[in-house]
Amino acid sequence: MAVAVQGAPSKGSRDREPRPGLVERFKRSYSKHWYAYVMIAPVVLVLGVLVLYPLIEGIWLTLTDATSLNSARQIGVNKVPATYNFIGLHNYADILWGPGSYDRFWSHFVWTIAWTVLCVCLHYSLGLGLALLLNQKLRGRGAYRLLLILPWAVPTFVTVFSWRLMLSDGGAVNTVLGALHLPEPGWLDDPLGQKAAAILVNTWVGVPFMMISLLGGLQSIPAELYEAAEMDGATAWQQFRHVTLPGLRTVSSTVVLLGVIWTFNQFAVIFLLFGNGAPDAQLLVTWAYRLGFGQQPRDYAQSAAYGVILLSILIVFTSFYRRWLARNEQANG
């Protein structure tokens, strides 16, 4: 450590005092705000243990060829040391363009993107529609609201298993379709039907949250705006276009972002609906789970690599989304 000597002539010929070094700045801010550091220390520590450490460990795993056969394990009293090797970025290369990468990664990637876009669009549009309906002054509004929140309040596995019963071959859905002389698709059997079923169930589960959030947004739009619009002779559509949507912008941007992240990483619906079947309807998340825990030997490294790829996709998406929002904000003043 350099020791500053008091009164030594400064080497710099400039008059301005040089910007203090990092350590110095840290020291200053520490002496000034030490209590704040003390306050956040526990949080930092907990986050470090719960988030940062596993994340770094996971990223490290992706650079190795760890499987359940060569990882360290403790067999009662005997410790078996890890014997996996560092293989650099080979896992990523193998996933993205190794043999069979279309089947293993790209088909799931395309489906995951399609699933996210479709589900979020359905969530948002249905949620907004229901929120607009519930925003009217009608009798029994509270009861309707309660009913519409139910799908969200019921534990996911109950919802999904009920759907699984209803969508099965002799289930309620196909019985109704058969009675109407419509074709009866194999909802849980054929690849396209599986995807449709997954979107249907996820929509059912996801709409209530959107509805409640948007309803909150709607109720925060001042009624005066509508009155003024009406005075100016705006039609209902124009009111919706120029009052409701701009008023909902902040809420919408947040719930859409949340919706995208949740839907992208939706594990429970797919896992509970198809169990170990339906290879084509697996999202990247459930596929990664299958690699890491659903097979023998377990492929920890590839599974972790999938996790890192997923995280990267979401980080890229979020940063673009935020930028796009900021641009919109400026454009709309």
């Binding site: 840290f26 470090g48 243990v49 054929d190 690849p191 170990n276 339906a278």
Partner: protein
Amino acid sequence: MRRGIAASALVAALAVSMAACSSGGSSSDTKADGPVTITYWDTSNATNEAPNYQELAKKFEAANPNIKVDFVSVPFDQAQNKLQTAMGAKGAPDVFRSEVGWTAAFAKAGYLEALDGTPAAADANAFQPSLIQQAKYQGKLYGVPLVTDTLGLLYNKDLFTKAGITAAPKTWDELKTDAATLKDKAGVDGFWMRAGDGYYAMPLLFGEGTDTVDAAGKKITITSPEAAKAVETYKTLFTAPGTAKADVTSDSYAHMMDAFTSGKVAAIIQGPWEITNIYKGTAFADKANLGIAPVPAGSSGKAGAPTGGHNVSVYAGADAAHKAAAEKFAAFMTSAESQAFIAQKNSTLPTRADAFTPEVKANPGIAGFQAVLASAKPRPELAEYSSLFASLGTNLGKVVQGTSTQDGLSTIATDYAKLLPDFSK
């Protein structure tokens, strides 16, 4: 400086938490003289089979007052995963019922105690040599055979008679002909093949004289023309008239069994572990109605079915006292007397000749399956062999849904190449 302190504090905290996670061994008390409690994980069917195993465990406790058995039922389809997790960390059972396909893989990972020369393997010579062979890994014995099984063609004799069919079909082609006849004359689906399950598809491969891999020749054989032919036949088993359409939902197993036991389908490919359950079905109130025949043969003229079954294995991580008790327990569970008891109760096949008592032989299910055992193909000694079923099942499920046979098989071969890096394609 300060950051250094913070960092080292973080590291210390991590070290403490890691240490907290990794301490602790297997179960409770380790006193040599006091009573020992061993944990046994049973993977048999919890409603039909497990109560009889539990009864055996009680008998064992009565005979060995200083050993208590903590009997835990673990659903079979989750057991491999649970064991894998527990045995690499903590909470593993001291002794457990292990599917024959797991033995090699678990032994390779170092989870199993070698049983040569222990009380558990005292009667090793009494067992069927091929079953002892498949419980070995690199020359050491890692499990004691508890039950053995293979797949057979189970059929409903009443429905066959109704359709005017007098004998069980011998080949897949005959089976399809019979299925069409059954549909016409008896008005039920003639045959239900389990779709998207590698284990149940093995008879087709064996029927063409091939296998997923050639373990001796270190070659992946799933892309051979014979295998392609087998898959083509497999596809027709869901499309031919009188066969049930492919069910690849997660409830397909239950659907198949419900259809068979209630007489809605006349024949299935199934193993002896379901016999107890089948006898409870409405269509089989009269046990004599269940016909058991070898699986149909393919174009090679030979019929072959995979050898399944279970061993009792001892966990390598248990301490000496628990190991000794666990070995005793393994010996007891696989003794001739215990096996005869289980065979009568569960209709599963014993693994040693001296367990085939006259009463056991009189059980129609066992008598039927004993005749089928001749077509059972022993497993190659390959640690990864049971891991090969997963990709096979997944991709066969895709094939029956429209993926081309060649694409399906080459995907399987790619997966196999990963599992078996030193095999040639």
